[in-house]
């Protein structure tokens, strides 16, 4: 057992825990978060994805000790000041989910993808999202929603730029 400090969605949490525990179980069972979910425990499907140090990572194969001190964002932490992230907004406008179980992974992976590449091509979306599985097969709408989110984010950047100029 070790003392581990986690920084999740802007809040600090101190835990006494086995440092080898996968981050997923700590987020879900100790911190009560519901966004990241167990899908495979093998890092193959993406449903447990969180953003750690700016990258989308699979929390089911990430030991909690390796997240010590780093900022972790989960699905619950994407909205800012009560306003949904443009990716979430696009997901609603496009009515993406069927069962929705995988959508945490889809949204978090798409968010990290758009942070890296604000205007991805169709091929870049397919490649960037390829390891994130959906068994209701909502891929068609996910890809449309990522393009919509890119537009929403570009519009938000432009609006912010105008504000700065004004």
């Amino acid at each position: 057992m070790s003392q581990i400090t986690l920084q999740v969605n802007g809040k600090r949490h101190a835990l006494e825990i086995d440092p080898g525990t996968p981050l997923l179980y700590v987020l879900r069972n100790d911190l009560g978060l519901r966004g990241p979910r167990f899908g495979c425990g093998l890092g193959q499907c993406g449903s447990c994805t969180v953003i750690l140090r700016g990258a989308a990572v699979r929390s089911c194969v990430t030991p909690v000790s390796s997240a010590q001190g780093a900022e972790i964002t989960t699905l619950e932490g994407l909205a800012q000041n009560g306003k949904l992230h443009p990716v979430q907004q696009a997901w609603i406008e496009e009515q993406v989910p069927q069962c929705g179980f995988c959508q945490n992974g889809q949204i978090m992976t798409a968010k990290a993808l758009l942070d890296r590449n604000p205007n991805p091509s169709d091929a870049e979306i397919r490649k960037g999202m390829d390891g994130t599985l959906c068994r209701c097969m909502t891929y068609y709408r996910i890809q449309a929603a990522i393009k919509r989110a890119a537009q929403l984010m570009a519009a938000a950047r432009e609006a912010a730029d105008r504000e700065v100029v004004a």
Binding site: G41, T74, V96, F101, N104, M137
Partner: protein
Amino acid sequence: MTNFTKVPQQVEEVLERQPDASRRDFLKKSGFLVVSFSAAAMGHSLLLAPAAGAQAAAASPPAGPYPDPDFRQLDSWIVIHQDNTATFYVGKTDGGQGTGTAFRQIMSDELDIPFEKTSLIMGATDITVDQGGSGGSDALETDGWPMRRVAAEARRVLLEMASQRFGVPVDQLAVSGGVITVKADPSRNVTYGELIGGKRFNVTLTGNNINATTGKAPIKPVQELKIVGQSPQRYDIPPKVDGSLHWAVDAKAPGMVHARNVRPPWAGAKLVSIDESSVRHLPGFIKVVSKGNYVAVVCEREEQAIRAARQLKVQWQKPAAAAFPGSEDLFRYMRNAKPTSVVRARSGQPQELVGDPDGAMAKAAKVIEAAYDYPFQGHTALGPAHAMADPSDGQMTIWSNDMKAYGLRTGVAAFLGMARDRVRVIWQEGPQLYGRTAADDAGFEAAYLAKEIGRPVRMQWMRHEETAWDVKGPAFTFNLRGGLDAQGNLIALEYHARTADYGHIGYNEPDTVLIAQLMGRRPAQPEPGGASGPSEMYYIPNRRTVTEVVSMPLVWESPLRTGNLRDPNGPQTTFAGESFIDELAAAANADPVEFRLRLLEASSEDDERFTRARSIAVIKAAAEAYGWDRRPSPKPRAAGTILTGRGIAYCYRRFTVVAEIAEVEVNRDTGHVWVKRLVCAHDCGLAVNPEALRRTIEGNLLHGLSRALYEEVQFDNEKVTSVDWITHPTLRHSDCPERIDVVLVNGDPNPNRPDLPHYGAGEAAIKPTVAAVANAIFDATGVRLRRVPFRDQRVRAALQSARA
């Protein structure tokens, strides 16, 4: 009227807590319940607030008993609140196809209340009537009707109440948006909430069974429906996107512990001994539970249970005989096996016989034959099976994503030997039902362990366990033979199918769920299994259709146990049927669309659902939407690495009719198939929410694509070897078509009929996809793939052997 003993006890408690003493007194005097506060106050996490769609948090369950709500009471279905909002209580579950939103639409429309002012609760066995949960795409097709009728009845009763209040006959009242107005004097009006808010209707409904439930009021003609046909956004999507939804995987209770199963390493293995000392020292260890060949480990924390299950030393005895042939040998085994039964045709005969197929075949100018093989396919849900069971107060409450929550309740009660009214199931959202959660293994396991341990237990399967041990869609072999006359008309067709469906498991039966099988509890006879033949309306004057069932060597405790997978036999039988029609079209040198239309138009006989007329309509609509150029397949051979082609397939599923066209690119060198475009013309009658329907169809099409291109359960003689996403590949983002066109068709000969029904839409579109892809590959390459799935290696081998 509801017998008072049938009032859920928690509702009484809710009444005790009501601040409004006069109302409480009134209700006490009336002796009946008000359920309007029950859902929120009871801590059900299912209550969706009218406008926001936010979910209330789960709380500890109140003690039972949990009697069945009476479906013959209007109050069991609809509650009007004082703020002029309504809550609907229905006995269904939503697999993510938006059926919950559709229920709110149809009920709001009949009740005449704005959609935004309604909320819906479903799948909680103690407060929603038993409509059986989900299955068979019957949500709107079957269960939607009583919902519409009870909502219409509530509107009628409210109008009568307003009539008494104003002293004006009902026909001189107008109702809109939950407000009733005197036509002659609009200043005189009253809201539903003012008339009955928080009070009971006390109206008894009639009907011999829940599907027949009705009041006195007629439902509205289609032309008067305002919310049906609109596409309000699905209320379940925002909480799925912002992380606020409480899923069944999130269920927690004070003192809850975690369990994991330890499965036999070989199918049919017998448990010899367990060395508990191998895990007793591990942190958080509580108990190893075992009975028969069922073994589970319970620990305080989840990761501890996973570790203990992995480390537990168990000695198993390998069965003497092979459990099944290896997957590479499966179809040879099935063709050589002695059938366990022949499926009775609708006529009750062991075969469906039309005309004289032998005589016609003998006279045919051309006879062609083909054999097709379709493997076992799994559900392989993205999230493995899971449930949480709380045994507090001598009751059993199970939080589950079981699509048939009501059956789980009955099954668990029987399995544990508990009275049915001591068990309740609270359905919550989970990963893809599609038939998997109709036999909720984890729900039974959690409940069993909770009873053993005396603490709330959360059970979750691991990935390898889910992929290997979930229920499977049965494998099939087919032999087809067709005779064409000199003009290329199809005059005879023989269809002979075999399905490895013996022992098909039921819905949450206490003797066929996996834990029961492993414990040695089983029915006297396995289910015989079966399938119907291809579902098309082709006029073929001479036909023989035979389906036989075969058994694997190991029937019980097998990871190849068959169950219902999204349209249980449709993708298989339609793959064979519609591939062969394409082969016949090619043999007749006919265009595949024209050949099918000719077979449909050869007769004018139709059924009461106009399946023939609607079949013709969807094929024409698909061809038009695609821009089909009429020519025989295959396409003249092109140069280059990438070959392109298009294929069509059509079928019906119950009353819904679909035609699909796939356009493919086949890489001649690698064998890789990319389905670049899909068109689906879909007639499910009245579309309640067209946008939600489109997305359901899109997902269904791609589910079919995944089964066409990738999915196959592989196994050796003793175990399933498909255990994760590497050994069991699935469709991915890079496989997604660049364009999908969904055309919603209303092919009814009288498209404006006021009673246009709403048919099921959850499964039909998956049915012809595999065949459409196979036909497109043939069009592109001239090579006919008769074995599913069309993985790169198999396609490359087929192309190479055709070239050689």
